[in-house]
Subunit: 328 residues, 2 copies
DNA sequence: TATTATTATGAAACCCGTTTCATTTGTCTA
DNA sequence: TAGACAAATGAAACGGGTTTCATAATAATA
């Protein structure tokens, strides 16, 4: 591969001059600048980004670590963050860790080792980890509140979201509401469940819970089990949209009318939830705001962020076709 | 940030020795090795990956460039490639270029500049590009057959897929089949359409075509237009599953029974297509095989690949609930 | 015991773009 | 015209692991 010294030799100047032409960091005589430009053209020279970032200590890269690339929620988040990063002249380095804590940690180390300018982490688990030594790059954590040396936390008000959902289901006339709760090791799974639990406690409703992972197959299987365990269910609060969609599939297959016999509500408001028929009632998360704030926090902490600051975004209920007020 | 010389100083050895301990590239006396390990432990030293890959000329990274991270087909492909890369000790660097050719080219240059070990590209357009100078890293191109200096091409037999789909729709009794064709600048859009066209020509069927981008909103809008233009339609061949799902949504909203009045078939077999109700009949692409072959090709071209070699994978029809043989 | 083969180890070069610093050339002011 | 100052430019150092090469020390063979 051609390098800057080679180009310099060809143009009859020093490497420093070539560098100055490329980066516009200092003035160069028009004559030499032309010679350099020509030599670059002739050789298809592309500066080695590795050498550059070794010296600069910046790779113009932001890392994003997500538990699963197969979950549309994370994918939509990644898409938005990618846009934002590109806009600001950064690359987004997406790490998919498949809910594996070792991989997650490795990804973080790696980002540090490649001189990334910051990292955005959606933890695979909210449990305390011993391994959290301080990183040398800014780290903002999404969808979690675990204790660690991070620059900022940022999440949506899931607790409130679950309460909103319960309120709505009760308003719609549901009496036997089952919560399909997500993994209790995750923050989203736990706080959504706690929102449900507290609502039940406050309103003297018996809790009905079924555990489920955040994926299709689990959703399918756990819905079957739910129907077995709670035959009189008339409302379901699913831990996310993926699971809600799986749930609907089973209900549909069994010819259980939704929302007439069972009302269903999801969580996240992924793009698909308004695309399926019937459209899914769900708790909307402001993904765009989330992404934009996360990017701000990681890029210029000094402005919006306090060290270790917590930012909580509100969620809203969007009613579509899987819930309906019973006017009995 | 702590560096190797610092660690060496602390351990009372040379940087070379530290490097040897870390990489196991040469034997080191047990005593010094312990001192080094201890110093690493004490300082939380993580070798700077940038410096390492500058020297090694390998970043243990392979790049994946896709047109859109919002399309589940690409996402599933990325997920699989990510698994494969991780298995083999590489990172997958995902570049989302949003169907922008400039960004695509920039991504390619960037991968070259960071010493990536290879790149897998799903082109945003199949048109000839002038810019295709030879890259210094192996490049395998998916879902395209445009002419350029690449290591290998790899795609599914879309032409055959479209014919399979048509055959099936005709078998099911459809007489007025409309093709919602994808962007004709893409290889998938074009070859799927050509498969449809040739089938029509061979069987003396009048072509009915509507153009559509690969996304939800376009799918929604174009289905409306389709129904306007071809009121007697009884079969729809959608350019991909996303569009097929949008199409179903409109049909459902208008109370047009599927498959009884209109039969519908998609393309890609993304995970969602079997999760919605009714389940979507579609053309299945062997994503896992595709990913696995792509990874092989990019990583060890010498074995499976001929320079510029073409690899074409077969597709299959999977009949689900949006098509049905009419036993009239 | 002399000699050769090993093993251990550090100094220095290397990868390559960037930047500092000193020098040279040219310009402007007194 | 001398002195002061600005612009242009290259040599060299830098960033941080890795590897080569030479040397020193130890072990094995004659």
């Amino acid at each position: 591969m051609i390098n800057i010294r080679e180009v310099a030799r060809l143009a009859g100047v020093s490497p420093a001059t070539v560098s100055r032409v490329i980066n516009g960091t200092a003035s160069v005589s028009e004559e030499k600048r032309q010679r350099v430009l020509q030599a670059i053209e002739a050789t298809d020279f592309v500066p080695n980004e590795v050498a550059r970032s070794l010296f600069k200590r910046s790779a113009k890269t932001i890392g994003l670590i997500i538990p699963s690339i197969r979950n549309p929620y994370f994918t939509e988040l990644a898409a938005k963050l990618d846009e934002l990063a590109t806009q600001r002249g950064y690359r987004l380095f997406l790490h998919n860790v498949g809910y594996d804590l070792d991989q997650e940690w490795a990804a973080l180390q790696q980002l540090e080792a490649i001189n990334a300018d910051g990292a955005i982490l959606v933890p695979s688990s909210n449990d305390d980890r011993a391994d959290q030594r301080e990183l040398s790059i800014p780290l903002v954590v999404l969808d979690s509140d675990f204790n660690g040396p991070v620059s900022a936390y940022l999440y949506c008000d899931y607790y409130q979201g679950a309460q909103l959902a319960m309120e709505h289901l009760v308003d719609c006339g549901c009496r036997e509401i089952v919560c399909i709760r997500g993994p209790q090791s995750t923050f989203s799974g736990r706080s959504r469940y706690v929102g449900y639990r507290d609502y039940c406690l406050e309103h003297h409703i018996r809790q009905r819970v079924v555990d489920c992972d955040y994926d299709f197959n689990a959703g399918l299987a756990m819905t079957e089990e739910l129907l077995e365990r709670y035959p009189k269910v008339d409302g379901i609060l699913a831990c996310n949209d993926i699971v809600a969609i799986s749930t609907y599939k089973i209900l549909h297959k069994r010819n259980i009318p939704v929302p007439d016999q069972i009302q269903l509500i999801g969580f996240d408001d992924i793009a698909f939830s308004s695309l399926i028929s019937p459209e899914l009632t769900t708790i909307h998360q402001p993904i765009d705001d989330l992404a934009s704030l996360a990017m701000d926090l990681v890029l210029r902490q000094e402005e919006r962020a306090v060290k270790g600051g917590r930012h909580i975004l509100p969620v809203t209920l969007v009613q579509r076709e899987t819930t309906k007020r019973k006017d009995a």
